[in-house]
Amino acid sequence: MDQINLKEIKAISYEKAEIKKGYTDHSLRINLDESDIIINPITEKIKDKFIGGKGYDLWMMWNAVSGDTKWNDPENAICISSGPLGGTPGYPGGGKSIVTSISPLTGIPIDSNVGGYFGPYKKFSGFDVIQIDGKAKQDCIIFIDGIENKIQIFEASNLPQDSYELSNVLTHHFDEKKPVNVSVVSAGPGAEHTYFGCLNFSWWDAGRKRVRYKQAGRGGIGTVFADKKVKAVVARFGAVSMKTNNPADLDALKLVTKAHAKEINELDPKQNRMALVGTTHLIPIMNDHECLPVHNFKFGSHPESFLIGEEAYEHIFDKGFDGCWRGCAVACAHGVKDFSPFTGPYRGQKVFVDGPEYETVAGCGSSLGIFDPQTILEINFYCDAYGMDTISVGTSIAFVMECFENNQITLEHTDGMDLSFGNRFNTLELIHQMARGKGFGVIVGKGIRNMKEIFAKDFGADMAFMQDIGMESKGLEFSEYITKESLAQQGGYGLALKGPQHDEAWLIFLDMVHNFMPSFEDKAEALHWFPMFRTWFGLCGLCKLPWNDIVPEDNKDNAEPAKVVKHVGWYADFFSAVTGKKTDADGLIAMSEAVYNFQRVFNLKMGYGTREHDTIPYRAMGPVTEEEYESRQELYDGQLKDKYSLDISGMDTKAKTAALRQKREEQYELLTDAVYERRGWTNNGIPTVATVKRLGIDFPEVLEVLKKSGVE
């Protein structure tokens, strides 16, 4: 590659804010319309209410956009924050960034939690949160140099097209001698041409001497990034220790960090072995419980799934430390070295693949009928390099394949490509087309909700069938779990603020296997507590995996084992030690509840956030087709007879499928009623005035949004 060209168009030097108790108390705004670089203080009031991380992002965005703002309007902002606890070396999962924007897929705020060093480096450079708005006239790069205390905006040309090479080139460009000092946020050509572009957040892997990256995948933030003509945001910072975050009580921080890390080091090898296999252990477990999406979520298991689970990837992953933040004991960010793609621009070359994780294996493997770990690796590699979310890519292509096999679309529409389940070569070709912005891939890259409209309008496809099988809600593609037998998880997806992503609630086993929550009220309680606690990780800059993926050996003796109460206590201690604000388990929930409800009101501000937007496709509730019903006939027949007391002796499969559907749809509505009530929302899913007042988010502009919706 020839030398990259960077032409400085704006630069400032700044006095770095001192970090106090996890906070810099300053934000950085980059306005690309005017190439403005603006540093503002963050008030105590905002800090108390929004905590940090996603809370700060949402507050900045709320003030940046109006209710009419679309994803590609200049005022739409991308906000990146870490949170007060983010950047604590050695604390498991202690280095996350939370990214938000108005999503091209949903039209409402999307948030994505991602590893890599950018979030901590940005904070230690003096900024709790950065906001990027406006649109650049030329491709640009933003450089935050926390060593030289300088911020620069460059016009950029002759850059590598994809994120894989761009991250590498910019890391060396900005600190040739110490690449560990650099973290790059970048997208790629897929982000330019699809609505589900992701952002790659890099770090320097000192052991392998190469750049690695993790993805802020969901909701198309990479697409917004590309639309603003930002090629990369780069942060540079030097040595980091526990003292860098200037915690209120360093000794207490050391104590809780040591305790949590020690437990993970001792128990992970006995439990999920995430330091060895990442999250691929979930493949055989989900398969055996009929929760692994196969053929667009039609089935929950497949006899060949063993080919793509931990037994395969344990031998494929490159051995070595794989923490996406310094000293993380979970260290689950595995990868594969010397992989040689058999298609695309890297065909025949040796590359490093960061991944795959469970979601990618399930979404781009089993859901597509692909049970070849090498093909999944290649899909993973190109999605990352092109800057595309593997979950939306996988779930969208699975939808296309089912439409193709049901003659809703034909070879005429797919440029002659056979898109039957299991077609590896055409799956990859579709991904290359998305990145090039050519062919049928352009349509697929618009996501399922848009595809349904296009297929119905232009290709004459059956909209009712596509509504049933198109695995999206709020416009976002489902992540990779079958929920047909877990009503609670149907709510976990449908009632999630940003759309069907499992990071708000993952209740399948508690509900389906252990029957912890038999009543609607039990499920509603779970759909209150778990989303609130999981939200807290995003406020503070943390990963949730150390909370409940490795659990204490005596956890089963606790009255509430699902909450992993011992760890919740450690997180309260962690927060208290860093910020100096003494808190407890209830205090953590209270922090989240305010931000959670604020985000719901934000959805309302954007024209959504009501009951009609909390629906899910019937495929998420039960069997759509007769084939699907008959695949688990014994189970479904039993439920109709025993649970619903129906006489099915004279019913054919079609009639039984319809009867089951009626019951399950009724159950979902009853669950929705119960959850809204528990959350303090109206029957239309809007927080009441009493709720926003109780949570202290009764700002005039919040009350005005509620009033416009008839809530006062």
Partner: protein
């Protein structure tokens, strides 16, 4: 003899995982075990036989994504 979480347990011919769990305390949340390194989930507990000299680890609650 088999080892269950490092404890030695008597083995019997045709012993299944389901039968083994019935003899143990505090296993009501156990829906997945490792049998000689391989993950076995609860739907297969009744049909999975344990070979003699096996090593079994009881996994905690599955937390998912």
């Amino acid at each position: 003899m088999i080892k269950v979480d490092e404890k030695v347990v008597q083995w019997t011919k045709n012993l299944t995982i389901a039968q083994l769990l019935k003899t143990l305390d505090d296993v009501k949340f156990c829906s997945v075990v490792r049998l000689n390194g391989k993950l076995i989930s609860s739907p297969k507990f009744k049909t999975t036989k344990i070979p003699d000299n096996s090593k079994i680890q009881l996994l905690p609650l599955v937390a998912g994504g």
